[in-house]
């Protein structure tokens, strides 16, 4: 494996003194697409914002490292960070309507992104901004440079955000639910655009979403988050075919079997995710888990390597659903509830 | 916040009771100032017009805590007696502004449409003239007796109260209990006086305290330029005016009433802030 462009090591984020992201680690190879999926409140967005150093009081990073190339972003001063943000690592945000400055023309905002890292003369910066706007599929890019954000539709605004993010050819692009605020019809257009531009430019991407359908089509690998931790990480194919953690398993079966958006299907998992500060001991999914046993409550559970996947479970689901249960869980197979079995993939 | 799921016409249930533990320093200070003025004869051995021509502009001493004026009158004594008038005008105008402003604002909120337009545009017009100039016009027309000063100041402050009253009444009557009450056939007047009024009272009271500060400044301004309280009657503004005449002889003469006005206005502002924020505090149900 080549050296990762982004290496997040044991990232911890707290709101005040309450931990909300509890030790996230992942690596991103050049050009790789990693999906970060989970319910809202699982800490996905906070992870991305913390990588960028964009957290606001009272949210702060309380531990870990974010290695971009050879430098730890968390150890940089504001001035040093400003040289990295927008140049080597960029981000696209959830709500394009509020993410653009309403008082500046779109052109001025793209030119600003260029000029902050690349001191080019005015006309040249404008030309580059027009090219970028054209690349992201805004018609009449030259004229539209002088338009204000309110004169754009939601999808077009998100395209402008993409142009801003890619203005300086970053190595890493973080996309925080880039399509959530958009119409269903424009969602796939925007995802395809990100897909195409990132391939062309070789940008490594982290896609944060709760839409597994989107993640399936876009990502090489997927990491599932629950209550501020990764519970499973594997290649997209493996995860969809063979989710090992009961939580991701439930997520996958909801999507794959019913073919509906996870947001609507999530009630299929009984109960609510724990609130920050009230996370149970041991496995944090235990209260909602159909496979939980007493041992799950004993101690924090590590992320274990299992057939090429990483799984945070002491009783993972069998890797081969066709041939009975996993050896490690055989003795408890009888206690599986019918409801849990129903949710098993029909492979 | 609401524990019961049913919509009932809440009687006492929604009535807010603000828990004030120890009164804040600003209120204590105001209380001390007011009490000292009211009981001036008990506080000071001098009369406000006791002249001592032998000791004009005496420095502060054990006998005269703030010194004496050009006629040897005790400054502290005069401040306390002057405070009686200042505070009277202040209190009177606040009451007038509260009564008129509340009726004005609540009726505007209640009778939406034409009546509201007329009432609120009237408020706009009166507020387009800077207060002090409006006061000059009124004093020129109606004279500067104590009564007319109080009424004029009260009328000038009423539009501000009216605006506040209107906005909080609109907020309050848009709540479910009000429409439910109307649906149940409760009388409008009854609902407004028994249910709405207690709930908007904290906001109105906070506005009244702000008005008290404005009234204090207005009275002092008018008296200072000679169009307010007329000597030999005295208020803090009058004393400031007299001290201003002797600025080079004895700065304390002007500083004392100035500081007293400042402290009072400052405390009133602080108290208003506090009163405004207690609305969001935990409410105690009886």
């Amino acid at each position: 494996m080549t050296a990762p462009v982004l290496d997040v090591r044991d990232l911890q984020v707290a709101i005040g003194t309450t931990p909300v992201v509890r030790g996230i680690s992942f690596q991103l190879a050049p050009g790789e697409r990693l999906g970060l999926v989970g319910e809202s409140g699982s800490g996905k967005s906070l992870t991305a914002l913390s990588i960028m150093g964009l957290n606001r009081d009272p949210i702060r990073v309380s531990g870990g490292q974010v290695m971009l190339g050879g430098t730890d972003l968390l150890g940089l001063s504001r001035a040093e960070l400003d040289r990295v943000r927008g140049a080597r690592i960029s981000m696209i945000y959830q709500d394009p309507a509020s993410s653009l400055n309403p008082l500046m023309t779109v052109g001025a905002q793209i030119v600003e992104a260029i000029n902050l890292h690349d001191k080019v003369e005015r006309g040249q910066a404008r030309a580059r901004a027009a090219d970028l706007l054209g690349d992201v599929g805004v018609p009449n890019p030259r004229q539209r440079l002088d338009a204000y954000p309110h004169e754009f539709s939601g999808g077009m605004r998100q395209r402008v955000m993409i142009a801003i993010a890619l203005a300086c050819q970053p190595e890493v692009l973080l996309c925080d639910e880039p399509t959530t605020a958009l119409d269903v019809t424009t969602q796939s257009l925007v995802i395809n655009l990100i897909d195409r531009l990132c391939s062309e430019r070789g940008v490594a991407t982290v896609l944060i979403t709760h839409d597994l359908g989107v993640a399936a089509g876009f990502c090489d690998n997927i990491a599932v988050m629950y209550a501020g931790q990764l519970v499973e990480q594997s290649s997209t194919g493996t995860l969809f075919a063979n989710a090992r953690h009961p939580y991701s398993h439930a997520l996958m079966s909801a999507t794959v079997d019913l073919g509906v958006d996870v947001t609507t299907a999530l009630p299929a998992i009984a109960g609510q995710p724990p609130l920050p500060g009230t996370i149970p001991r041991g496995c944090s999914f235990r209260p909602r888990c159909p496979r939980a046993v007493e041992a799950c409550a004993d101690e924090p559970i590590d992320l274990l390597s299992l057939d090429g996947s990483l799984v945070r479970c002491i009783r993972p689901i069998s890797s081969d659903p066709g041939s009975g249960t996993h050896p490690g869980t055989a003795r408890d197979a009888a206690v599986d509830t019918p409801a849990a079995q129903e949710r098993m993939p029909n492979a | 916040m609401a524990e019961s799921g049913t919509i009932s016409v809440p009687t006492a249930a929604r009535r807010r009771r603000v828990t004030l533990r120890i009164p804040p320093i600003s209120v204590l200070l105001l209380l001390i100032i007011v009490l000292m003025c009211v009981f001036a004869p008990l506080v000071t051995p001098f009369g406000p017009n006791d002249v001592d021509p032998a000791h004009p502009f005496a420095a502060a001493s054990g006998q005269h805590w703030l010194g004496t004026d050009e006629l040897g009158r005790d400054l502290l004594t005069r401040l306390l007696y002057g405070g009686r008038l200042s505070l009277t005008v202040c209190a009177g105008s606040v009451v007038i502004a509260f009564l008129i402003g509340t009726i004005w604002g609540v009726s505007a909120a209640e009778r939406r449409g034409f009546v509201e337009e007329i009432l609120m545009r009237t408020a706009d017009v009166t507020m387009a003239i800077p207060q002090i100039l409006f006061a000059l016009v009124c004093v020129a027309a109606f004279g500067a007796s104590l009564l007319s000063l109080t009424v004029i100041t009260g009328l000038l402050l009423a539009p501000t109260s009216a605006r506040m009253a209107r906005s909080v009444t609109i907020q309050e009557t848009s709540l479910d209990y009000y429409s439910a009450g109307i649906a149940y056939g409760a009388g409008k007047i009854r609902l407004l006086t028994r249910e709405v009024f207690p709930n908007i009272l904290p906001a109105l009271a906070s506005q009244a305290v702000i008005n008290a500060a404005s009234a204090m400044i207005l009275e002092a301004s008018l008296s200072f330029v000679g169009l307010g309280v007329q000597p030999p009657q005295m208020s803090w503004g009058v004393l400031l005016q007299q001290g201003y005449g002797f600025l080079y002889n004895d700065p304390t003469y002007a500083v004392a009433p100035a500081v007293l006005i400042l402290v009072t206005v400052f405390c009133l502002n602080l108290a208003a802030n506090r009163l405004g924020s207690t609305r969001h505090r935990k409410v105690v149900r009886p």
């Binding site: 943000r85 927008g86 509020s98 | 706009d124 800077p130 002090i132 027309a141 080079y248 400052f266």
Partner: protein
């Protein structure tokens, strides 16, 4: 465009209503300013009073008096003072300078102090700097302009002789002395006015700094300074523009007493004098003029905000 027309019409109506109100109050009582002026002077007889009354137009019906006042205004004729018989318009013209300068300087000083202070305070809401600035601001709000003026005179004119205590030197006569004579009066006005802008702008800045577009700017790599000046400040300043109108009213009102304190013969001093003498011809025009200035500034500021905001202005021309 509709907004502009509506706003202009409302201001015009407001102006007319203000003139009616001022006129009505001054004529509400049957007191006779002419008789008051002549008083019990020797040799006054009814014929003299009547002659003066008719020359001032006081014997005509009120409505006709009002309209002749308004009609005169349109060509600069505001009538004559009941008291000195001078042209009201010339009295106003000679008094306009000090008041306008005082108002402009007072507002400018308030803005100059309030904007940097608001930015400093908003950087870390509830931090020590924010708390100190907010505390100083609420103390400043307790300073009525004339009280501030007297205290400033005691400190800066009497104790240390830095600035003159009284007197207005016209700008045309000596710009340096003019500025020296303006410093204390301007500070007196700004003491109360600056906190009004400061508090409003600070809270708008806090909102702006928490907005998504500010996060975008930081994510682009914009330094803190640039984020504040280029992104947060314009967005916060736009709604705060209305405060400029408000403090202009405050400053115009405050100048009445501040002029008295510092011995300026401006509009404020003129209005006080007119009120003393019950010289309605002067008083009504001065008060209307000051109100008109206030209404005009509020209108201008509103239209400016409308024009500066691309969302309301619509497509660029």
């Amino acid at each position: 465009m509709q907004f502009v027309i509506k706003r202009v019409v409302i201001s015009a109506i407001l102006l007319v209503a203000t003139s009616v109100l001022i006129f009505a109050i001054l004529r509400a009582l049957p007191g006779d300013p002419v008789a008051a002026r002549l008083g019990t002077a020797q040799g006054v007889n009814q014929a003299m009073i009547d002659r003066l009354r008719s020359s001032a137009g006081l014997d005509r019906p009120l409505v006709s008096q009002y309209f002749s006042w308004v009609a005169g205004m349109t060509h600069g004729n505001l009538g004559r003072s009941y008291f000195t018989d001078r042209q009201v318009s010339s009295m106003i013209l000679s008094a306009l300078g000090p008041t306008l300068e005082l108002t402009v300087l007072g507002v400018a000083l308030s803005v100059l102090v309030a904007v940097p202070a608001a930015m400093a305070a908003a950087r870390r809401p509830r931090g020590w700097l924010d708390r100190s600035i907010t505390a100083i601001a609420s103390a400043g709000m307790a300073f009525p302009p004339f009280v501030a003026g007297i205290l400033l005179i005691i400190v800066f004119s009497i104790t240390v002789h830095w600035f003159p205590a009284r007197g207005f030197i016209p700008l045309t006569q000596d710009p340096v002395q003019n500025l020296r004579s303006m410093i204390l009066p301007s500070i007196s006005l700004a003491a109360g006015a600056a906190p009004l802008i400061l508090r409003y702008l600070r809270s708008e800045l806090v909102t702006a700094l928490n907005s998504d577009y500010v996060r975008t700017a930081a994510g682009k790599g914009a330094p803190e300074r640039r984020v504040m000046l280029r992104h947060a400040l314009p967005n916060a300043a736009l709604p705060s523009l209305t405060m400029i109108g408000l403090i202009t009213g405050y400053t115009l009102g405050g100048s009445v007493v501040v002029e008295y304190v510092f011995g300026f013969s401006g509009l404020g001093a003129l209005s006080v004098q007119a009120a003393f003498r019950r010289d309605y011809a002067v008083l009504q025009s001065v008060v209307l003029l000051i109100s008109a200035l206030f209404i005009l500034v509020s209108l201008t500021v509103d239209l400016l905000g409308w024009w500066l905001d691309p969302r309301t202005r619509g497509h660029r021309g």
